[in-house]
């Protein structure tokens, strides 16, 4: 979960999406041809030039766009920040439904891809030969962008998870870095007992984090085959593993009631109120720019394990670039996408602090040996790269995960503020998701 939209806005956005689906529910016409496009065709298109619009909020793309335009002077790329995460998806959905103003390329987070792919809004990139890139990307992201033979986007970055911890705080209270979630629970107790103002983590209910944890615990609560969807948030083994530990953290009030990405959150990370953070490998850039004053205090470690000695990780966040079916200049759009995510652009983005999804870069010595001054000179990429290779491959998100995540706090969120149990909250979330899915024409849990 990389973005946190305020709840009010989320509601408004949904209202908008719901209203739209009433008026223009039919899927857009299939305008894409299935003809294969060769590298030669692409080169010709690049030579001829034209202009494309890219909707993305990822800051490192600025550099990529200017490099790309320098290399292909006849191509003009208009980079538009149409909002972050949910805001952008609402806008994109609106544009697709309205049939106008659709960008050529759009940034879509992995968890949201299914929604747009099933809505037939995205171009299948296998006709450009993107289906041959399988080995070039780490398994988590690649599985997220593909359905069968179809490739709906190219992975832009990835978020293999790691445990970031405030070494200064843990050392002060002589708490060892937890390696399992049980140890994590113990550490939470010890820390809060030693300093009532300090918490092991902040959590107010975050769908992205919860699903990532279930993913790591070997859960597969969401399964999709065509329009048949199964949601199992009650008996799934990943779900039960997660709720067991997290319920204890909640019951004993060991989690700081601070929302991710809020200014309070940045403050907590800086002043030691929040002692650890389990999140994606893209986080260091945010530490550097947002938690300046705690430089040197933090370190990275492998994500705690559900079983002692295990080597399983998970993905959190990360996004891809997709070519929109309704876009005007698909060949150029793909050429840009390939440039940004498969060839030269990748290096430029890594230099600017992005975490790659490309295996070659993840394994390159120069990448692995990069010291992180923020983490006291630690070579943190070694930890992240190992994590990237330990992500279970059988995970998938719901084909309406954007909606599901947006209502997460209505049900599961209750567990964080009242006596409702997490398991009960998840059960309610499942119920809401099933109802919504069936209303949308899926056959959920039938």
């Amino acid at each position: 979960m990389r973005t946190m939209t305020r709840r009010a806005m989320r509601g408004v956005g949904l209202l908008c999406a719901a209203a739209l689906s009433l008026t223009a529910c039919g899927s857009s016409e299939d305008t894409g041809s299935d003809e294969a496009v060769s590298g030669g065709d692409l080169r010709a298109a690049l030579k001829e030039g034209g202009s494309i619009t890219v909707w993305a909020w990822e800051p490192t793309l600025k550099q990529v766009v200017s490099d790309f335009e320098k290399e292909y002077p006849k191509v003009k790329v208009k980079l538009v920040n149409a909002g972050t995460g949910n805001d952008q998806y609402t806008a994109l959905q609106n544009a697709v439904q309205a049939g106008s103003g659709v960008p050529d390329v759009a940034q879509v987070e992995y968890y949201a891809l299914g929604q747009f792919a099933l809505g037939k809004s995205l171009e299948d990139l296998s006709r450009y030969g993107a289906d041959e890139f399988k080995d070039d990307y780490s398994p988590g992201p690649w599985n997220s962008v593909t359905v069968g033979d179809a490739v709906y986007a190219l992975p832009m970055d990835s978020g293999p998870m790691a445990l970031f911890y405030n070494k200064k705080v843990l050392d002060k209270h002589q708490i060892a870095t937890p390696t399992t979630w049980d140890e994590y629970l113990e550490a939470a107790r010890a820390l809060h007992a030693a300093d009532p103002k300090a918490y092991i983590a902040n959590d107010t209910g975050d769908a992205g984090f919860t699903t990532s944890m279930i993913w790591q615990a070997g859960g597969t609560p969401f399964k999709t085959r065509d329009t048949e969807v199964t949601v199992d948030l009650t008996a799934d083994k990943g779900v039960t593993a997660f709720t067991e530990v997290w319920q204890k953290l909640l019951d004993e009030k060991l989690l700081a009631p601070i929302e991710n990405w809020s200014d309070e959150w940045y403050k907590g990370l800086a002043d030691g109120t929040i002692a650890t953070l389990s999140t994606g490998a893209w986080m260091p850039a945010n530490f550097v720019s947002g938690v300046e004053s705690a430089s040197g205090d933090w370190r990275a470690a492998a994500l705690p394990q559900w079983e002692k000695g295990g080597e399983v990780s998970s993905e959190n966040g990360g996004s891809s670039l997709a070519v929109m079916k309704a876009g005007k200049n698909k060949d150029l759009a793909y050429a840009f996408n390939e440039y940004a995510n498969h060839s030269e652009g990748v290096q430029a983005r890594i230099k600017a602090g992005a975490f790659p999804a490309t295996t070659a870069d993840l394994a390159s010595p120069s990448f692995l040996d990069t010291p992180f001054p923020y983490f006291g000179g630690q070579k943190a990429n070694e930890i992240f790269a190992r994590s990237a290779s330990q992500v279970p491959e059988d995970w998938s998100y719901l084909p309406f995960q954007v909606y599901a995540n947006s209502i997460f706090n209505d049900s599961v969120g209750k567990a964080y503020v009242s006596d409702t149990k997490l398991a009960e909250g998840l059960k309610q979330w499942q119920k809401a998701a099933v109802t919504y899915g069936n209303d949308q024409g899926f056959s959920v849990n039938k």
Partner: protein, 313 residues
């Protein structure tokens, strides 16, 4: 703020009558020269004032802090470093000075949108108040109905309509809907009915003045307080408009300030994004300055409007 001038006048008059009756205190008339004091009311007003001014104080104080200072210091007091000027210059130059562009966009939307809305409301309100025609009751019902429909509910249909016309992502998509202000129309209608005596218009007509001339020379000056009120309403509304531009405009080059500041704020919640809370806060401060200036400049017209009717009795 939402009470139009004439109701404010009525309520104030009513309360001076009723206030003595509600208390057991000896019945004695209170004149404006010797207002009665009340501890409870003073306290209540004090609290309200505090409640209203706190966010403003917070905004001013925190606009003086750096991004680091914001996170390290207590919210309602200054941090060691005074970075206001630096913040302002950063706000104006960050991201190739896009803030200035947003500012000009907002100005455009307000001048054309709110100005146009006021103009239309004045014309319409005057016409409805002073002329009789078939279907006036239906118009009345429609206007009242339109006042009740929140703009947010109309945003999506408007979006679809504009999208069909190919107007989304252009300034027109913000300006055209802003031109319609049912509340402003209603206000002008009621105000014109009260403030412009029909006898005066008849006299003007008798003297051979045409309708347009009568409107501009006789009615308009009498309507000034109402016009200023409507102008302030529509201005504030357009200046603060968020949802409409949010769904209409995707190109940051056409963002108004509200959307732009939100985009900066959202930056903090993006992987690799730079949190610029200090610029968001300073930008917010700069954003409200023009509104404050507008209020200060227009308030004397507005106040004279409040008083205008009260002596006529």
């Amino acid at each position: 703020m939402s009470a139009p001038s004439f109701t404010a006048e009525q309520t104030s008059r009513r309360s001076t009558h009723r206030a003595p009756a509600t208390r057991r205190a000896p019945r004695r008339r209170h004149t404006a020269g010797r207002p009665r004091r009340s501890m409870v009311l003073t306290l209540l007003m004090g609290l309200t004032a505090l409640y209203a001014l706190m966010p403003l104080a917070w905004l001013v104080i925190n606009a003086t802090k750096t991004q680091k200072g914001l996170l390290d210091s207590f919210g309602l007091w200054f941090s060691g470093d005074f970075a206001l000027w630096d913040n302002i210059s950063q706000t104006l130059t960050y991201d190739d000075g896009i803030f200035v562009r947003w500012f000009l966009n907002t100005l455009l939307y307000v001048v054309v949108g709110a100005g146009g809305a006021t103009f239309l409301a004045v014309l319409g309100g005057y016409g409805l108040a002073k002329f009789d025609f078939a279907g006036k009751r239906a118009v009345f019902a429609t206007v009242i109905g339109a006042v009740a429909v929140p703009a947010t509910a109309l945003a999506v249909p408007t979006f679809l309509m504009f999208s069909k016309m190919g107007l989304t992502n252009t300034p027109w998509a913000v300006i055209i809907p802003s031109l319609i202000s049912p509340f402003g129309l209603y206000l002008m209608w009621v105000f014109a009915a009260e403030a412009v005596p029909t006898e005066l218009l008849e006299a003007a007509r008798m003297d051979g003045s045409g309708e347009l001339r009568t409107f501009f020379r006789v009615a308009l000056p009498l309507l000034t307080p109402g016009i200023v009120t409507v102008l302030l309403f529509t201005m504030v509304q357009t200046w603060n408009n968020y949802f409409l531009p949010l769904i209409m405009i995707k190109n940051p080059d056409w963002y108004p300030l509200t959307l732009g500041l939100n985009a900066w704020n959202q930056q903090a919640s993006t992987a690799g994004g730079q949190p610029v809370f200090n610029l968001v806060i300073t930008g917010s401060l700069l954003t409200i300055v023009p509104l404050i200036i507008a209020f200060l400049l227009l308030q004397r017209y507005w106040q004279s409007g409040l008083a205008a009717g009260s002596v006529k009795g």
